[in-house]
């Protein structure tokens, strides 16, 4: 079975196993978007909650199976390469979830437009939201592979710790008049780099995962 075919089959299994969760998410967020469409300004906060809240919860649980002995043995001996396994779950919890929530948001927005509300879509800000979501997705996927229990809390704690260490380093290195200029660019670059490192690191952690 080729990588793409295996990936599609693997995603089909994940979607099938999580069918109830997907149905509930569709109903809850779909209804929220439709109901708040009357008050257009509230659509955006709901979109952010649905995207970041729901997405982070799903990413944190993505590799739960590898930490439970009773599920891990059959899961890890399934003839799928680590890269296929990893990219399939990244696609589902990252880009596909992003498209899914944006689609629901789009429906809410269309209803709002039909009701006479005016929408101004800031593409730059939207692309920032997407990028930030994908970075967070990579970080929480890393947490899901790394931490056996309470991966969500432990990843949040790791992020906090990382932030504190970074703030200290920044305070020591970048002082003086350059601080304001450097801050924004520096923070953006570090944030992006963190996402990339988490994305790659999660793959290698998954590859060397053992059942003990």
């Amino acid at each position: 079975m080729g990588n793409i075919k295996a990936s599609i089959q693997f995603m089909k299994i994940e979607l099938f196993l999580n069918r109830k969760l997907i149905l509930w998410l569709s109903i809850v967020f779909g209804l929220l978007f439709i109901l708040t469409a009357k008050t257009a300004p509230q659509l955006s906060p709901i979109y952010h909650i649905a995207l970041f809240g729901g997405g982070i919860l799903m990413s944190s649980a993505a590799f739960k199976k590898i930490h439970e002995k009773n599920t891990a043995m059959l899961y890890l001996t399934l003839p799928v390469s680590t890269i296929t396994r990893y990219l399939s779950l990244w696609l589902l919890t990252g880009p596909i979830y992003l498209i899914f929530i944006t689609f629901l948001y789009g429906i809410g927005m269309m209803i709002s437009i039909f009701q006479g509300f005016f929408f101004y879509i800031d593409i730059f800000s939207f692309s920032h939201v997407c990028l930030n979501y994908l970075i967070l997705n990579a970080i929480f996927l890393w947490g899901s592979v790394m931490f056996k229990k309470l991966s969500l809390i432990k990843t949040l704690f790791s992020l906090l710790l990382f932030g504190i260490i970074l703030a200290i380093i920044k305070g020591i290195i970048f002082q003086g008049p350059w601080l304001v200029f450097i801050s924004y660019r520096w923070a953006q670059s570090v944030w992006l780099a963190l996402g990339i490192v988490a994305f790659i690191s999660a793959y290698y952690q998954l590859k060397k995962c053992e059942i003990k």
Binding site: M1, L17, A72, L74, T77, P79, E210
Partner: protein
């Protein structure tokens, strides 16, 4: 399958597998026996690529299991002692997971399910422990994987299903397949295995064919207590003593695996009879 000087421990200070070496070839059903903590399940996990050796080599079909290459995994099916199956029906499981195995035999799957009196509409989480074992055995056989690893496969099976399980295994395994069965229920594998691996303290104590065992050992029963110097091991049973001794007169006798197991654990000199043998 070649395993050479394998070492493994879950912790740096604790060694489970100590310099284990063994070679196995297709066309055999091998029984893997050993006491609790001898390293049987750990060895199976190492073979399946679920644990990585501390040192030494495992090569199966020209691949190292720790790489978990899909081509290697297509040729392997591992039934663990305990497992949780996904929330779906038997039919859905075969539909979603069967495609990962290029030689998946749907007709065999149906036949096996019928033998175990399971139907495709049954939901996996609703099956009893024994039924899940039967279902996984049916699925494992249907994959036509070249290496089947079964860890305590007969646990939870009732007497009649154990018989069905044995018959199915004997009927459906072909000459290209190697089956390794690890179990404490030695009577369940007595009539199906043709080779024996006996583990003690992370090493292979005996690796030989049943035919060789029968040639070299005699298992019998006598009323009087045997002299310890004449037998490897004896144990008191109702009405007399079960004994195991060297088959000096080449008398035909069926090997009592339970007795042999006890003999090897209590008196390791028995293993000297088979030392140097590399049965396939």
């Amino acid at each position: 399958m070649n395993i050479n000087n394998l070492h493994f421990g879950y912790e740096a200070t604790q060694s489970i597998i100590n310099g284990l070496s063994v070679s196995l070839t297709p066309g055999h059903i091998v029984g893997l026996l050993g006491q609790n903590g001898a390293g049987k399940t750990t060895l199976l996990k190492l073979i399946a690529g679920l644990c990585f050796p501390t040192s030494g080599e495992i090569e199966i079909f020209g691949q190292q299991p720790k790489n978990r290459d899909p081509k290697f995994l297509q040729e392997l099916f591992f039934i663990p002692e305990d497992f949780t199956l996904p929330n779906m029906t038997i039919q859905q499981y075969a539909h979603y997971y069967g495609v990962f195995y290029p030689c998946f035999d749907k007709a065999l799957f149906q036949r096996a399910l019928k033998s175990f009196e399971l139907n495709t509409q049954q939901c996996l989480p609703a099956l009893s422990y024994g039924q899940t074992k039967m279902f996984l055995t049916a699925f494992a056989l249907s994959t036509r994987a070249k290496l089947l690893i079964l860890d305590e496969p007969s646990n939870g099976l009732d007497i009649s299903n154990k018989q069905v399980w044995k018959e199915l295994l004997l009927k459906e395994i072909n000459e290209e397949q190697l089956v390794i069965i690890s179990t404490h229920q030695v009577h369940d594998i007595e009539n199906i295995i043709d080779s024996l691996l006996l583990m003690k303290e992370g090493k292979i104590l005996i690796n030989t064919s049943l035919m060789e065992l029968e040639n070299k050992l005699y298992c019998g029963f006598q009323r009087e207590a045997p002299s310890p110097s004449t037998v490897f091991y004896s144990e008191k049973r109702s009405g007399g003593y079960a004994i195991i001794k060297e088959n000096a007169n080449e008398q035909p006798s069926a090997i009592d695996l339970e007795l042999l197991f006890q003999a090897c654990i209590k008196n390791s000199t028995i293993a000297d009879l088979f030392s140097g043998e590399k049965h396939g």
